[in-house]
């Protein structure tokens, strides 16, 4: 009965419902594209200076907008003819005139101070006149300045400015309140202990798993967690799933959700009383865990072992964990759009409790919602929103670039299949669609789509991925992985002496699968724990693979482990529905016909395929990707192996549950299997799912 302490419990404790079926690109006009600078005037005067022996080019301006016919001369700009000056056409499309420096124009010339500095000093009567005029203007300007100063001084003396300031302050506060301001607790950084044995930066799941591991191996440990959120550590997965299924508004307010087994539990890992007050942490002989909420660490002095808070307060540590997580990002088009405050209000991101509350509020007041993104978060939220709308009075759109939901994770055919299931949940899924324009339409937003259509929605939720929070890195001299992002750590999750990283922000070395960065709940649990163990002298490598799961409506539930990337070759074994006599010959012929239409293109030729052809091929593939029911084909239950150099590097258990330990063994084995169907046998895909052990 060692079973009791299996991952099952961990995941249940951490509440994984595992066991419930469980972007201005300056368009160079082609003429001077290699210069890195642009010509503003097509006709350019360049004069021989008095002392000069040749003709000099003044060329520097940068044009920010390309003209539609950039190589035509602009007749409107007549060259000013000065003595010994001659206009030379600098038409970049023509060969340079004789005497024209051959290497022109070089980058250096581009940076010549300016055109004015190169003009010979004019000595004409207008010069004097001009000087007089200038002096007059200067006098006028100074008088004006004096007048303004006196006026301002009087106003200040009368105290009108004071009034102004007072008026502005409350305005700001009101705005912040509406936006759910971050509450600092303790309010004063003086109440945060200045010297702690264990400092955890970030208050998410990885941090929680870490302090649990620290307290387990060092019972009297004094642990300080500094989080920029207003909340004690809580779990994020239910925010896009179970929290939306809760029909009791009071429970939603209290952040309570129903688990897979029907029992209710709080989003928070531990009740408030579990934590020691920051002021009392260092005096407690048995130690404890204190959480400083609403505080941000801006820098770590790794050599001196000091963390510096936003207000400059320093905390000395013996061991430190950075588990700062990640921040959702906006796609370029929305990034531009949010500069307009009116539009920004209607564009939402999703990550934390505040985001959830805001989205729920907006959801209740909306009739049409667009979710941008086809990954885990986008798909889960689309399904959850559609499911919550029992009266079917709302329209939930989900748009994404890929061909189907979870297109970056699942093999194409399965992604298409999943999209059908998401549609069945009531979501209007629009694959291969991107937003190319955002406009305020008075009531909501008007989205212009890549297919030319327009979509009017009340609000948009952007779920296109996250960016690891590595702002600390530069100031703290920590290395960030240029490709994967995240702080670079070794296999023991150590970045530097006494400094560890866990969760989304860690780019770690997986002894078996190479360098990785993973953004999943269970990964935060696994790495948080590992970091905690190593902070207390564990010296353990990353060996235990983390898993992840998702559920999209009643027909799609899966658990996965390892490198699960749809660009890898896959072998899937699905349970065949029945093995009756069937019109196999007919069906196969029909399919053969379809297949011959789409002559396979060798991978090497892939980049030479036109967009149209590609779309055509995809359409044909979509056709044959559908399971043939008459032949007993069904994507209901199965196991999908992801291969790299013929070795299994990732496994998806599709509607098959409680087999993660087998999957772990297969990954660990790192063997080339002759027949993966034989391996699939070990997963008992034909068996009914056991709800709980």
């Amino acid at each position: 009965m060692l079973r009791i302490c299996k991952a099952h419990h961990l995941t249940r404790l951490l509440n994984a419902p595992v066991f419930r079926n469980k972007f201005q690109k300056i368009v160079n006009d082609g003429c001077f594209s290699s210069l890195g600078c642009k010509i503003t005037f097509i006709n350019r005067n360049y004069c021989s200076s008095k002392k000069g022996d040749g003709e000099k080019v003044n060329d520097e301006s940068i044009k920010s907008h390309p003209t539609s016919k950039p190589c035509e001369t602009d007749s409107s700009q007549d060259p000013v003819k000065l003595k010994r000056c001659k206009p030379v056409s600098l038409d970049p499309c023509k060969p340079p005139p004789p005497g024209f420096p051959s290497k022109i124009p070089s980058i250096k010339q581009c940076t010549t101070p300016n055109l004015m500095s190169e003009i010979p000093e004019p000595s004409c009567p207008w010069d004097e006149e001009n000087r007089n005029r200038r002096a007059k203007y200067r006098r006028l300007f100074l008088l004006g300045l004096l007048f303004t100063a006196i006026t301002l001084g009087t106003v200040w003396y009368l105290g009108i400015f004071d009034y102004h300031e007072e008026k502005e302050k409350p305005k700001k506060i009101i705005k912040k309140k509406q936006k759910r301001a971050i509450i600092k607790d303790p309010a004063d950084s003086k109440d945060i202990p200045p010297d702690v044995p264990y400092l955890l930066i970030g208050g998410g799941t990885a941090s929680f798993a870490a302090f649990r591991a620290i307290k387990s191996s060092d019972p009297t440990a004094k642990v300080l967690v500094v989080t920029n959120e207003s909340f004690f550590p809580y779990m994020r997965p239910p925010l896009s799933k179970e929290m939306w299924f809760n029909e009791d508004p009071e429970a939603v307010k209290k952040l309570i959700f129903k688990q897979w087994n029907g029992s209710e539990r709080s989003l928070f890992y531990e009740p408030d009383d579990f934590y020691t007050k920051c002021q009392e942490l260092m005096d407690n002989p048995n130690g404890g865990v204190a959480i400083a909420r609403g505080w941000q660490v801006t820098e770590i002095d790794v050599v001196e072992r000091k963390a510096i808070l936003e207000d400059g307060y320093t905390i000395h540590y013996d061991k430190c964990l950075v588990a700062t997580g990640a921040t959702p990002r906006l796609s370029p088009i929305f990034e531009v759009a949010v500069s307009d405050e009116k539009i920004a209000e209607k564009i939402k991101l999703f990550r934390n409790i505040y985001d959830f509350e805001e989205c729920m509020e907006a959801y209740d007041q909306s009739r049409t919602i667009a979710i941008v993104g086809g990954g885990f978060l986008g798909s889960e939220l689309a399904c959850a929103m559609a499911r919550r709308d029992k009266k079917k009075s709302k329209i939930i759109y989900q748009l994404f670039r890929e061909g189907g939901n979870m297109g970056k994770i699942l093999p194409e055919y399965l992604s298409y299949w999943t999209t059908e299931k998401v549609k069945a949940e009531g979501v209007s899924v629009m694959p291969k669609t991107e937003v190319v324009g955002v406009k305020d339409d008075g009531k909501g937003l008007e989205l212009t789509l890549s297919n030319g259509k327009k979509l009017n929605v009340d609000f948009v939720l952007v779920a296109v991925g996250v960016e690891p929070n590595t702002e600390l890195a530069e100031k703290s001299d920590l290395e960030v992985d240029p490709e994967l992002g995240g702080f670079l750590v070794n296999t023991e999750l150590q970045a530097r002496s006494d400094l560890y990283i866990a969760g989304d922000a860690a780019c770690f070395y997986d002894v078996r699968l190479g360098r990785r960065r993973v953004e999943h709940h269970d990964h935060a649990v696994v790495t948080g724990r590992l970091a905690g163990e190593n902070m207390t002298g564990g010296r353990k490598p990353y060996l235990h693979q983390s898993m992840f799961w998702s559920d999209l409506g009643p027909d799609v539930g899966f658990e996965a482990i390892g490198v699960v990337d749809s660009s890898l070759p896959t072998v899937a074994v699905f349970a065949k529905a029945t093995d009756k006599d069937n019109p196999k010959a007919v069906v196969t012929q029909e399919q053969e016909g379809l297949r011959s239409n789409m002559e396979e293109i060798p991978q090497e030729c892939d980049k030479y395929v036109s967009e149209e052809k590609r779309a055509e091929l995809e359409e044909a593939r979509k056709h044959i990707s559908e399971p043939n029911k008459t032949e007993g084909e069904d994507f209901g239950k199965g196991v999908i192996f992801y291969l790299r150099n013929d070795i299994v590097v990732g496994i998806v258990l599709w509607n098959v549950f409680n087999r993660m330990s087998v999957a772990r063994q297969v990954l660990k084995d790192q063997r080339k299997y002759e027949d993966l169907n034989e391996v699939a046998k070990l997963f008992n895909i034909h068996e009914d799912n056991v709800v709980a052990e």
């Binding site: 302490c5 961990l10 055919y413 072998v571 169907n677």
Partner: protein, 143 residues
């Protein structure tokens, strides 16, 4: 009959539809023995304080008191087992009473912990220990 299809870009995805009958034939593949998942009690008889089954028990504000009491009980040679741990259990209870929100609900819900404790000690093979384990369980529940 099981059958197989190639799908996806460049036919990179192989899909096998396997019949139940086919999969009833034992697999020719044998996997290495899974890593033992340590329970509450490690193979060497020590208590695994990292066990997820303990929840926040060993890490919370009464974690030290809990550990002292449970260790005493686990290693007790007294007859009946654990009878020499009264004071430690009392100290734990006093501590737990200060945190009603923590130790009330959690434990009565937590069958896992009680089960784990029970199982851990029944493996000692002593009849008495089972009783006391359940007594411990009740104790913790009451508090």
């Amino acid at each position: 009959m099981s059958h197989c299809r190639k799908l996806g870009p460049n036919n990179k995805d192989i899909v096998i539809f396997a019949t139940k009958e086919d999969h009833q034939v034992p697999s020719k593949v044998t996997l290495p023995e899974p890593d033992p998942q340590p329970g509450l009690i490690l193979p060497n008889g020590d208590i695994n304080w990292n066990c997820p089954c303990l929840g926040g028990m060993a890490t919370g504000p009464c974690g030290v008191e809990f550990r002292n009491a449970f260790s005493c009980f686990h290693y007790s040679d007294a007859e009946p087992k654990g009878s020499d741990c009264y004071d430690l259990f009392k100290t734990m209870q006093v501590c737990m009473q200060k945190y009603p929100t923590l130790y009330n609900k959690d434990l009565s819900d937590d069958d896992d912990l009680s089960n784990a404790i029970q199982q851990a000690d029944s493996s000692d093979g002593k009849e008495d220990s089972v009783k006391i384990a359940s007594a411990t369980e009740k104790d913790t529940k009451k508090s």
